[in-house]
Symmetry: C2
Subunit: 338 residues, 2 copies
Amino acid sequence: MAETRQWQLASRPVGEPTYDDFELVAVDRPEPGPNEVLVKTLYQSVDPYMRGRMRDAESYAEPWDVGDPMQASVVGEVLESNSAEYQEGDVVTGDLLWAEHAVADAGDLQEVNPDHGPISTALGVLGMPGVTAYWGLNDVCEPKPGDTVVVSAAAGAVGSVVGQLANLSGARVVGTAGSEAKVDWLTDDLGFDAAINYKETDDLSAAIDEACPDGVDCYFDNVGGPITDAVWPRLNVDARVAVCGQIALYNATDVPTGPRKLAKLIESRATVEGFLVSDYQQRWGQALERLSTFVRNGDVQYRENVVEGFENAPDAFLGLFEGENIGKQLVNVAERGE
Amino acid sequence: MAETRQWQLASRPVGEPTYDDFELVAVDRPEPGPNEVLVKTLYQSVDPYMRGRMRDAESYAEPWDVGDPMQASVVGEVLESNSAEYQEGDVVTGDLLWAEHAVADAGDLQEVNPDHGPISTALGVLGMPGVTAYWGLNDVCEPKPGDTVVVSAAAGAVGSVVGQLANLSGARVVGTAGSEAKVDWLTDDLGFDAAINYKETDDLSAAIDEACPDGVDCYFDNVGGPITDAVWPRLNVDARVAVCGQIALYNATDVPTGPRKLAKLIESRATVEGFLVSDYQQRWGQALERLSTFVRNGDVQYRENVVEGFENAPDAFLGLFEGENIGKQLVNVAERGE
């Protein structure tokens, strides 16, 4: 019987995850049942939200069980199909597993048209991160021309799209990122008005002040922690904060106190709103249509940081917390048609 | 020339304000100019927001200057009028001074009809605190029948009205307060479903859990700090937090970190919104009309904590931070017609 490999959760990390929390296991390759499809993974996504699913805590997503394969969005190739919807060789995307092969119900997959661009974009700018950026910015932040929009983790898969969309909205766009290469990409290529390398900045507050002389109208927060602390006092009247991620705090073992600067919200009458892209299922297509137009005509650019080889998937994931990726972090698991 | 007395800001407090920060000064009684009115203070309001104005920091309100009289809402009697709108003996309310007498432009005053109830209510349930409660609850929190509404400082001037209005909306209402007398008032008289004496509770989180078995849909926050920490993890999906005050933190000299639990907002897709009652000027009358009906028919009850004598005004103010008041904290400065 054919085998496949999958990454299983070996243990629940305390603090920063390590390689020991992952175990690469060979298992029998699953066979598709009625209306199911066997998918060979070509690209696997790793995303910051996965850290939450390694935790044994009730949240918006079920925690992963120790000893089970972990879940991931993948782009893959159909090897066998028991569904009229798909045939061998089709490229599909869906929420599958950290695995070289997986079966899925045909209804849980979407087709990826290779003629529309690199298939990997279905996991990035034309996938969940892009849609997150689109609705988080347009539905929660609602930038208007002349607004100052700050986005943290601006060189990431979500942040880079947020900044470019905000730019298209006529806003002044300021990003924070963790390397000179990232900062250069933001200002030289993506049209950001200013970008701050927080790792090389002694006084983050002064840097935000300088980059945002008219204060901050929208803050798209991917990171939390000290960067958010620095942005907070500069929120303008009626500012909107979209809380998308808090990657700076995901590995924290102790978050003893809660919000200690809410008084600023009174003064500014600001709104802070958390959101989940899964609440935008009904408007997913609308975002994708816009994004693919923007990508085609060059208004939205993207980068991918591709780690080669399925055995290196944990590296790709752990790299997210080190800020190693410019743009979307992916694992290239296999080639098409091989 | 006739004299009057006023309280001036003697120094900017660092941390908890003390008596030394206030100075009682005798000055010439001011004379009304054209279209101005001389008002004798009958009741002076003290409010937590005044702490912010003692600080030398840009905020929604101008900081008070050291050596200047401090400002306050008062209910007073017209002694002299150079305006056709008011005549001697009228009872008016407006933003005047911590002073026994003050002049004001007639256009900055509102008439108080003594036949409608105790004139002091124009500083409490039928004044700024009542309107704050009304719009903060109905415009920011928007409780629906069956929702669980938590209000902190629930026995205060704002909180007590919030809880009763939420009760009228068909919500389950839970309050926090700092004494058994307050807690009894909330549950026995005001219709709160549960009330927590946070000073006598070892485990605030467990107390919130017990009082809110279905989680928290609306949180009307007057205090911030540890009580807010305890409510935060219990926010339900689509919860609304109205940030009205943060009295637990107003005297803090060091608030080193900002919001450290925003990740909860992602999970719950909750909205946290600061607001200022001054933004509701256009809808002030609408709130007052409803509130006065509720007060007349007994649906909304109120209490006042009246400190006698103008020389004791700083006691009244400092008492706010000790939680001394049940209901609206006032200073009775003089009697009408004397």
